[in-house]
Amino acid sequence: MIFTLARRELRSLFLSPLAWAILAIVQFITAYLFLSQLQEFLLIQSKLAAIENAPGVTELVIVPLYGSAAFIMMLVTPLLTMRLISEERRNKSLALLLSAPISMTEIIIGKYLGMLGFAAIMIFMMTLMPLSLYFAGSLDSGLLFTIVLGISLLLAAFISIGLYMSSLTAQPTIAAMSTFGILLMLWIIDWAGNKADAAASGLLEYISMLRHFEAFTKGIFSSSDFVYYILFISLFLILSIRRLDSDRLQR
């Protein structure tokens, strides 16, 4: 049942030009970044050869690529998720789901999974570029794996916020704007913590999404980062379910 909903969500997404436009633009920008990074690497490659334990192509090309991609996705996610629930509410098509024999949880998770499907396609398209380097040489496969995992978790967290914001309103643009605001806030929240007292800054650093992503870019898979994302996603999914339920209770 959940997958039926997810499939419908994904299908509707691809029936609108927005999804195609986003895929194309993200692919174009990341390709540009990838190629310029690669060119720079080729320029300094001979010098690197002289240094012992020099960083390889994975560290110098792929890590910056995914770092920039994370930022691009922060900009793009609000546009993807804004319509999830708000538009159904506006078109009054939510009644179809609410009067069908499915639970609120199934509705929310179905929609979430549909969006994750799109995220998976986006990340897969992007990952094809680093994978193409296997034709020319070898990569640090472990690092590539953790960084793809990291960006997937990051994007999944972005989407959960977008879903919740979309459940709050009937106006997609408001959902997009507030999603973007929260994502940006969570991105930069640790900046304030740097000079404050240690306990507070520790907390702010813990909340910051970027900090948890950084570990993955160093090839470290730490369960605490993993759990952070899982908790984060669960929190916003539960909030969305509760929000949809409260629609039924009072208006």
Binding site: M1, T4, R11, S12, N91, A95, S99, A100, P101, R248
Partner: protein
């Protein structure tokens, strides 16, 4: 009408058609009482409030199999709210809803599986094709994979959508979109079909088709039809409920409604009219109202119809009878009567009476 009334009072005929009908109806209703499970939907003391506004106030009713229940009411009476609560789109503030033996709150999934709902605005995904949309609805209602195609085909046939299966819902006319909405509501063959103003925005031919479809659906489903088009109710419904300001002000069989529409007055037209007092002295006549010099409105009691007698006397006395017809109230009049101030006046009278009794006690 006069003929019909006359035949009712014909002593030669021991059992008229109408009486036979009544007897049959009684037998049927006894059968229904014996089989409680025939009750598809029972709603008890349902209320729904929005803040301080009470949209639905303590409504109780039920729906039997093979029945079309008409839900009437002026705008903002609480029709749509009531339907949304019954279909699980809104939670009730108080009350119980039982659908085919399942409580809507305790076992929501089983209860909802037995309901097909078309809201005021059909819940369509306009970017999908009709076939895609309907097969999504089939999956949503947990129809088995092997039967999904057949279910989609059947729903399309019933709603006259076979030719537009490959078209985008967005490009369909409003009438066709409405049909897709109905197809969506009946795709899983639910025991109860709830239609909220299904004929709005359709052309007259489509309206007739939809009404025929509703009658057809009623053969093996129970249908609740909300509307404010009164002739539609008279044509399609078996039972009528009028809701006003959140309260049920009228609930009865359509046959009883027809009886109610028959009023206690006769319009009489006489070219050589006698005096008013002479008319008043006729048998069973309570009051005479002079409309013009040749036309009169005669009031009589419900039990005795003086029409035959009047015709006889008018012929004997050469009154020049040119018109004799029972006056009939329209559903519209009853509707206005029930939903405008008069009902509320009745209620206040009642409460005053009660207060009097209370004071006496």
């Amino acid at each position: 009408m006069a003929f019909f009334c006359a035949s009712l009072f014909d002593p030669r005929c021991s059992l008229t058609e109408a009486q036979a009908h009544v007897l049959f109806d009684n037998a049927v209703s006894k059968m229904l009482d014996n089989q409680e499970n025939k009750k598809l939907l029972s709603v008890k003391h349902l209320s729904r409030t929005y803040g301080s506004l009470c949209a639905v106030n303590n409504i109780s009713f039920h729906l039997n199999k093979g029945e079309v229940l008409g839900f009437l009411g002026p705008n903002g009476a609480g029709k749509s709210s009531a339907m949304q609560v019954i279909t699980g789109n809104l939670a009730p503030s108080a009350g119980q809803i039982n659908i085919c033996g399942f409580d809507l709150l305790d076992s929501a999934k089983q209860a909802k599986a037995n309901i097909g709902y078309l809201p005021e605005q059909p819940p369509l995904y306009r970017e999908l094709k009709v076939d895609e949309y309907l097969s999504f609805c089939a999956q949503l209602n947990r129809i088995e994979k092997s039967k999904q195609n057949a279910a989609v085909q059947r729903a399309k046939e019933r709603c006259g959508l076979t030719e537009v299966g490959q078209r985008l819902i967005n490009n369909l006319s409003k009438g066709y979109q409405q049909r897709v909405g109905i197809a969506q509501a009946i795709i899983h063959n639910p025991a109860i079909v709830i239609l909220d103003e299904p004929t709005v925005g359709l052309d007259p031919i489509q309206i007739r088709e939809i009404r025929a479809l509703i009658r057809e659906l009623a053969e093996d489903h129970g249908v609740i039809l909300s509307t404010h088009i009164l002739p539609e109710v008279q044509m399609t419904c078996d039972r009528v409920q009028i809701i006003n300001r959140g309260q049920l002000v009228y609930s009865d069989d359509i046959n009883h409604l027809h009886q109610r529409m028959r009023s206690n007055s006769i319009i009489l037209g006489l070219n050589n009219a006698p005096t008013e007092t002479e008319l008043k002295s006729l048998k069973h006549i309570d009051d005479v109202e002079v409309l013009t010099s040749t036309r009169f409105r005669l009031s009589h009691s419900t039990e005795n119809n003086p029409a035959e007698n009047i015709a006889q006397i008018a012929a004997n006395n050469n009154w020049g009878l040119f018109e004799l017809r029972p006056e009939q109230k329209t559903l519209e009049q009853i509707f206005v009567e029930l939903t405008s101030g008069e009902v509320i006046a009745d209620e206040t009278e009642l409460t005053e009476d009660e207060q009097d009794k209370g004071a006496a006690a």
